[in-house]
């Protein structure tokens, strides 16, 4: 085992770092959190800069315009961009990380040609229409209905947790095309042009107060059959195939940010009063910060193991669910500890010194829910990794 990077990896890191040092100052100022048009413009501008520099679709195969970077390079890229404070994928999130890879794996050449280059250049923003109010942990129970009418599917129903829906050009949409089949077998994957009549987007206010997410309502929305990716009723497999792209890098940005957050909280603890001294003078507080730091370090090592393993085997290992479960617990602890350290300073949520830490506290609550709750992760690990028996249903 060797944790050092190869010479070529180090060269890659140096290149990325040099480019970031040059590129970041050229970015326009970051728009306000609620100015969606400006946010789209900002994020897609950044995407275009990445494209021009050859970093767009860092882990996409080069035949589809990506860089075809190795998982280790991908790790380095994510680490460096996060450390440099570069914008993350933002509104390009679904296109780059989910819809794009799905098209690469499953779409026709026409579909690929129509979308992949535009996603990479930041010309096309995608959103995801998977979850429904009644289909959360049990995603496959989705009910949004598509009925074939000539050469169109006619869609009625509702999606939820659709991020950036009001600035998206397209959506990846899962619909039920066979109501009689077992639930995983009657689902179809469609490319949804967001300007199709009959779509209503309502911002969804979260407990963070923001509205990056929306509910999307469908009333007789007509989608051409040629927008189908994969076979009819094979959409569940199509949607899942993207997960096999995962090479352990999904949480790298998160993790690097969390490590920073701990450092910042330790700094803050040295300043905030507690009893007759600072919060940092408190043995218990200090130990809790030390434990969290060790746990995040552990997850950093685990990430490298997962990446190495996936480089060797070509498939994602067990690291993902382990990461998610453990990371959720650590982030909850970190958030709760921050609230205790802040005291009444936490009440001014958008001001210094609270802002990042209160946002982090609330963010933790989404980490243990989104993309498979803590409870679902424990099911996955116990059943799929430990081979424990399923519950009777």
């Amino acid at each position: 085992m060797d944790l050092r990077y190869s010479e070529s990896d180090e060269r890659f890191r140096a290149e990325v770092r040099a480019w970031l040092a040059e590129a970041l100052p050229a970015l326009p100022p970051k728009p306000g959190p609620h100015d969606w048009d400006a946010r789209r413009a900002y994020d897609t501008t950044w995407q275009r800069m990445l494209f021009d520099a050859g970093y767009a679709g860092i882990n996409w195969p080069s035949e589809y315009g990506g860089r075809g970077a190795s998982p280790t390079e991908h790790l380095i890229f994510l680490e460096e961009t996060e450390r440099a404070g570069a914008p993350y994928v933002g509104v390009n999130f679904v296109g780059l990380l989910h819809a794009g890879p799905t098209l690469i794996a499953e779409a026709t050449e026409e579909q690929k040609a129509a979308h992949l280059p535009r996603i990479l250049r930041g010309e096309e923003v995608w959103c995801q229409g998977f979850s429904e109010p009644g289909a959360g942990s049990d995603l496959a129970s989705l009910k949004t209905r598509a009925v074939l009418d000539g050469d169109h599917y006619v869609v009625n129903g509702q999606k939820i947790w659709t991020s950036f829906a009001h600035v998206a050009d397209f959506g990846e949409l899962l619909v039920r095309t066979d109501t009689d089949a077992p639930k995983h077998k009657g689902i179809t994957w469609l490319i949804l042009p967001m300007d199709t009549p009959g779509i209503e987007v309502r911002p969804l206010r979260t407990i963070a107060g923001s509205s990056e997410f929306s509910e999307v309502f469908f009333t007789d929305v007509r989608i051409p059959v040629e927008n189908r990716v994969g076979a009819e009723n094979d959409g569940w497999r199509v949607a899942m195939v993207t997960f096999s792209f995962e090479r352990g890098t999904a949480f790298v940005g998160e993790l690097v940010r969390s490590m920073k957050l701990v450092e910042e909280l330790a700094e803050l603890a040295r300043k905030l009063p507690r009893g007759s001294g600072s919060a940092w003078d408190d043995d218990g507080v200090r130990r809790e910060l030390g434990l969290i730091a060790a746990q995040l370090d552990g997850l950093w090592h685990l990430t490298k193991r997962t990446i190495t393993e996936s480089e060797r085997t070509g498939v994602p290992g067990i690291g993902g669910s382990i990461f998610k479960l453990y990371y959720s617990e650590v982030r909850h602890h970190l958030g709760d500890l921050a609230m205790r350290i802040l005291g009444t300073a936490a009440l001014a949520t958008e001001d210094e010194p609270a802002v990042d830490h209160v946002r982090g506290w609330i963010h933790a609550m989404s980490i243990s829910i989104a993309a498979g709750t803590t409870q679902i992760q424990r099911n996955i690990l116990s059943e799929r990794v430990l081979g424990m028996p399923k519950e009777p249903s």
């Binding site: 969804l204 407990i207 300073a345 009440l347 949520t349 958008e350 209160v358 829910i369 709750t373």
Partner: protein, 314 residues
């Protein structure tokens, strides 16, 4: 020894619960966000119900009740998420002060809740109880407070104020403030349990109510447990403050505040988790309870200080 609500206490509990249902249904409470958590009508309803005056003698327009009754009442206010400077106003009224609304603050803390809607700020410190007129304080409201129904302001300094503790027991007043806050928190802890259980019974996934999965039902069992133990401690705190306890009063109150803080905070987070994605939406009430709990805990010194005080008794 009778540690069960007597007939009068039950009647009081059910009266205040009915009042809350009538005056503070969740739509109304949510509607108060735009007015800093307070409206003249709802406040008047609390006054009329005797929430603030209940410990005054009948001769002074009160009900002649004690802290046991007060914690029962404040538990219900917490359960209904009633906002406003409840603890400060209740204590001010009990001390015979005339201000309509009084908010409580720590001398060393320059973040004050409900400043704009209060007539005065009350501070209890080692030297006494101090009242500072709201006009005398330059506060800067915080744009987005943690609890949307608990507006807070930053102040650069707090004038000394007028000493108002003639005849009052300063340390008892501090303990009363803690016990009433603990009562609000235990009401919150219970409401969070009820919310989570109701949702878990109703929400279907994988062809079953999620409340039939041990992963979910065991979270709810732990919520119940935390709330029930904390409630026993809070009632005991009230009883002790009325002189009817079986141990050290300060310890009973401190323990109650610690357990109620832990219960309300942990249950709030559990309540969000049981609701899954819906728990992360503004529309579901889970976050409002959690945020109120977090705000109350922070404004009253933080759970760690109570744990430290408990240790000092060992």
């Amino acid at each position: 020894m009778n540690f069960d609500l007597d007939q009068d206490e039950r009647a009081l509990q059910s009266a205040i619960r009915d009042l809350c249902k009538g005056v503070f249904p969740m739509e109304t409470v949510r509607g108060l966000e735009s007015s800093g958590g307070i409206s003249a009508e709802t406040w008047q309803a609390l006054e009329d119900a005797g929430v603030f005056s209940l410990r005054l003698p009948e001769s002074e327009g009160g009900a002649g009740l004690g802290m046991t009754a007060a914690v029962i009442v404040f538990e219900e206010l917490g359960r209904a998420l009633v906002p406003g400077p409840l603890v400060g106003t209740h204590l001010a009224k009990t001390l015979g002060l005339n201000q309509a609304r009084v908010t409580f603050a720590n001398r060393n803390d320059l973040v004050i809740s409900h400043l704009d809607s209060s007539d005065a700020v009350a501070v209890v410190d080692a030297e006494g109880i101090w009242l500072i007129s709201q006009n005398a304080i330059a506060g800067e409201p915080v744009a987005l407070p943690l609890d949307p129904l608990t507006p807070v302001s930053r102040v650069s300094s707090l004038p000394q104020g007028e000493r108002v503790n003639e005849g009052a027991d300063v340390s008892a007043t501090r303990l009363e403030a803690s016990a009433l806050t603990a009562a609000l928190l235990v009401g919150i802890a219970s409401a969070e349990t009820d919310l989570a259980v109701a949702y878990a019974k109703e929400r279907q996934q994988f062809g079953r109510p999620i409340g039939s999965f041990q992963a979910v039902k065991h979270i709810c069992a732990d919520m119940l447990t935390r709330a029930e133990v904390a409630r026993a401690a809070v009632y005991a705190a009230g009883v002790h403050l009325d002189g009817n306890g079986d141990g050290d009063t300060a310890r009973a109150v401190t323990g109650a505040m610690l357990l109620a803080s832990e219960a309300a905070f942990a249950n709030g987070k559990a309540c969000v988790q049981v609701h899954g994605g819906m728990g992360f939406t503004w529309e579901i009430d889970a976050h409002l309870y959690l945020k109120r709990a977090a705000a109350l805990i922070a404004l009253h010194g933080g759970a760690d200080t109570y744990a430290e005080e408990m240790a000092a008794a060992l």
